[in-house]
């Protein structure tokens, strides 16, 4: 049994953490309003991380999903404000899973080198992901409809758009974004950009058909995002721990109070459970295990809860300093909610989890 990451993946993660320690320092705050730190993005592009799970034939490094997960963890830990997810977590896995040779050849190299930033365009407003809420239509080779919010929608070159064809069948479409009207929206996490995209007979082509394809794309992305959440949660916990060891009140370190100790112990437990789920989910993804969807949902639920809890309680441990603008605490708090919502809220994923259990029992 070997329930651990390969040496090469671990090294890739550590290298990423090393680079980001300096390169991403302060970047999230600098990106406020812009939704991206251009210098950091250029750096990240240059390092080839985007292509970690893309075959060399398409310009990737063939490091594999394990490596990409640990890079994602490092990105989460550093709150890197870069349009990484849409290409590396959503578009590339989707293209590799569902794309034609031509589609792969057209898009993967650009995603791998970062010249094509991609965005995931499913949501059309409030509510959980579901087929019946998709109003965008695909007709005569073109999309018409309004998608919002779309993460990195203002700067992406490519969108994966969920739309409905003439027969009413839902599918995922590849849509270059030249000429598509975009409006930046104010985001809960201003270090990440969100937009409203209005497609009006915008050229596009089918990538994959059926709601199950949408779920498959979401599930793959959820695994990588879970690692970003783990990274963020771990960093938030360490910030709280360090502060609790430094801050004095009532003549002692606040970390010596059980109220603080037990709070952070609970956060630690949530993170470790989430980490274990995330490990299993990446294995299930690579092994194409039959329970992959359930594994991804469990990882998503656990990691979302862990990061949200860690970020909120880190502020609490920091006391007054924690809720000031100048503290980094709120960057984690905002990012925790951003990641919690970006692929659909936790209720949606809990429902998937139980649905897969029911299906297993029915089988």
């Amino acid at each position: 049994m070997n329930f651990a990451f390969s040496e090469v993946a671990v090294q890739a993660g550590e290298a990423a953490r090393e680079v980001l320690r300096e390169a991403a320092s302060g970047a999230a705050r600098r990106a406020f309003g812009a939704g991206v730190d251009a210098a950091l993005w250029a750096r990240v592009r240059g390092l080839g991380w985007l292509g970690a799970a893309i075959p060399e034939a398409f310009g990737g490094s063939s490091l594999g999903e394990e490596g990409l997960c640990l890079i994602a963890e490092a990105l989460g830990e550093s709150l890197a404000p870069v349009p990484f997810a849409g290409g590396a977590y959503v578009a590339a896995p989707a293209l590799l899973r569902f794309g034609s040779a031509a589609q792969q050849a057209r898009w993967l190299p650009g995603i791998a080198d970062g010249s094509v930033a991609a965005a995931w365009a499913l949501s059309e407003g409030p509510g959980a992901p579901e087929a019946r809420a998709v109003g965008t239509v695909f007709r005569d080779g073109a999309l018409t409809g309004v998608k919002w919010p779309v993460v990195d929608g203002t700067l992406a070159q490519l969108a994966l758009v969920v739309a409905r064809d003439g027969a009413g069948e839902v599918g995922v479409y590849l849509a270059p974004l030249e000429g598509v009207s975009r409006e930046a929206l104010a985001g809960l996490d201003p270090s990440r950009g969100v937009a409203r995209l209005a497609f009006e007979r915008a050229p596009a082509e089918l990538l994959a058909s059926g709601w199950s394809a949408v779920e498959a794309v979401l599930a793959r992305a959820a695994v990588f995002v879970a690692f970003e959440q783990l990274g963020g949660a771990h960093r938030a916990l360490m910030m709280a721990r360090d502060y609790a060891l430094e801050r004095q009140a009532f003549g002692r370190k606040i970390g010596s109070f059980q109220a603080v100790k037990h709070k952070l112990a609970d956060v630690y437990v949530a993170i470790e459970l989430a980490r274990s789920h995330a490990f299993y989910a990446v294995w299930a993804m690579m092994a194409e295990a039959p329970d992959f969807l359930r594994a991804a949902a469990a990882a998503r639920v656990a990691a979302t809860r862990a990061f949200e809890m860690a970020a909120a309680e880190t502020i609490q441990v920091h006391g007054g300093m924690g809720f000031t603008w100048d503290s980094d605490c709120h960057l984690f708090y905002r990012r925790s909610k951003h990641l919690a919502l970006c692929l659909g809220g936790i209720g949606y994923w809990k429902d998937i989890l139980v649905r897969t259990l029911e299906q297993r029992n029915a089988a």
Binding site: G127, P129, L188, V194, Q248, F250, G251
Partner: protein, 386 residues
């Protein structure tokens, strides 16, 4: 049990209500300091400021129950009154309790009429929950005191005229014993106020820097070294103010759940949503009824106890959870959410900290209500500068 006013209460309510109906609409929805001052002046003129305060200071000399009735009636209008809560609720009562008659004469009337605003200068960067650990030094100089140091989390310092100031006058004795209370004019040379920006982007608090600020000994409140006892008076008044934290409540979530769909049907039909609504209803409405119980005690001449700590402990956490859950219901759309839920979610961490952290409030309940022992204190009997 009944919820009717006594004849006296009904008469007062009618009087208050008539005044408010006449005067309040002109101030409705205004949030600026000038409007607040004008509204306070209008109230004072009509005898509705300082309802429980002595008549000699311009108060009404009324009962706590009248104060409650006034609050209930005034809350029906969106009048600006927040800027006076700390001064009139906590600072000036401390002045009345400890200052000489002449000083009260000079200070209380203008404060009551809204001509002056007071802020509270207790917390410091190294003294938050542990206020008695503060470091600001006040050193004797002639017939006054020379003051140096920094305060923080001071609401309204940037528009205040006076501040209630707790400073260390003797660092060689244990921490609680070396403190002395003063009041200071915020315009004194050497005082610098800097706004603090919060997570939400708003600035409700300040840092206040004191550099060689001179304060005459006549601005001392209570004895030298007795500042902690004076501060407890102030903080007791804080706990008496059973305020309400702003933020969305189960009603707002109910509305949202009736609007948003889950699997094609309104989210309100979803049992997980219903459970949360029920839980938050129980919390919110339970706090409301608990307030009624406290008011009943007040009307019988009893003092509401530290049970009031329940209010903030429950509602601060509830606002964080409820607004976060509302964002979850919005799903991806929550990423671009402005509005009530997003704002509340961003402000909510502050609610769990300001005015007593969750942890301090649990300690208060455990110690003062249940009679459990205080935390072990290694610093209580040690000289502060040891």
């Amino acid at each position: 049990m009944d919820f009717e006013d006594s004849p006296e209460e009904a008469a007062f309510r009618a009087e208050a209500s008539a005044f408010l109906e006449r005067e309040a609409p002109g101030f409705g929805g205004r949030g600026d300091v000038a409007a607040a001052k004008a509204w306070q002046g209008t109230k004072a003129e009509a005898g509705f400021a300082g309802i429980t305060w002595p008549r000699r200071f311009g108060g009404r000399g009324g009962t706590p129950m009248q104060q409650v009735i006034w609050n209930q009636e005034e809350e029906k209008y969106q009048v600006p009154r927040g800027v006076f809560e700390i001064g009139l609720g906590m600072c000036v009562p401390t002045v009345m309790a400890y200052a000489e008659a002449a000083v009260c004469e000079r200070l209380v009337g203008p404060a009551l009429r809204g001509e002056t605003i007071w802020c509270q200068l207790f917390s410091e960067p190294a003294a938050g929950s542990d206020v008695a650990g503060l470091r600001m030094r006040a050193e004797r100089e002639g017939d006054g005191w020379r003051i140096n140091g920094q305060k923080i989390w001071t609401s309204g310092a940037h528009f205040s005229d006076f501040g209630l100031l707790l400073a260390r006058t003797d660092p060689s004795v244990p921490k609680h014993r070396g403190l002395t209370m003063f009041f200071v004019e915020m315009g004194s040379p050497g005082i610098e106020v800097r706004r603090i920006r919060q997570i939400s982007g708003e600035s409700n608090f300040n840092e206040v820097f004191f550099t060689n600020v001179w304060v005459p000994d006549g601005q001392r409140l209570g004895e030298v070294g007795d500042g902690w006892r004076v501060a407890l008076t102030t903080l007791m008044h804080e706990r008496l103010a059973i305020g309400s934290l702003p933020g969305p409540d189960f009603e707002d979530l109910l509305t949202l759940a009736q609007e948003i769909a889950i699997e094609g049907a309104p989210a309100i039909g979803n049992a997980a949503v219903r459970e949360r609504l029920a839980d938050w209803y129980v919390q919110s409405q339970g706090l409301e009824y608990t307030k009624w119980r406290a008011i009943t005690a007040l009307s019988r001449g009893q003092m509401p106890g530290p049970e009031a700590s329940i209010y903030k402990l429950v509602s601060a956490r509830k606002i964080q959870d409820l607004s976060g859950f509302a964002l979850d219901l919005l799903g991806e759309a929550g990423l671009a959410a402005g509005g009530r839920f997003a704002e509340a979610w961003l402000q909510s961490p502050g609610g769990r900290i300001a005015g007593g952290t969750d942890e301090i409030l649990r300690n208060i309940i455990a110690e003062r209500v249940l009679g459990l022992p205080g935390d072990i204190r290694l610093d209580r009997d040690k000289p502060f500068n040891a």
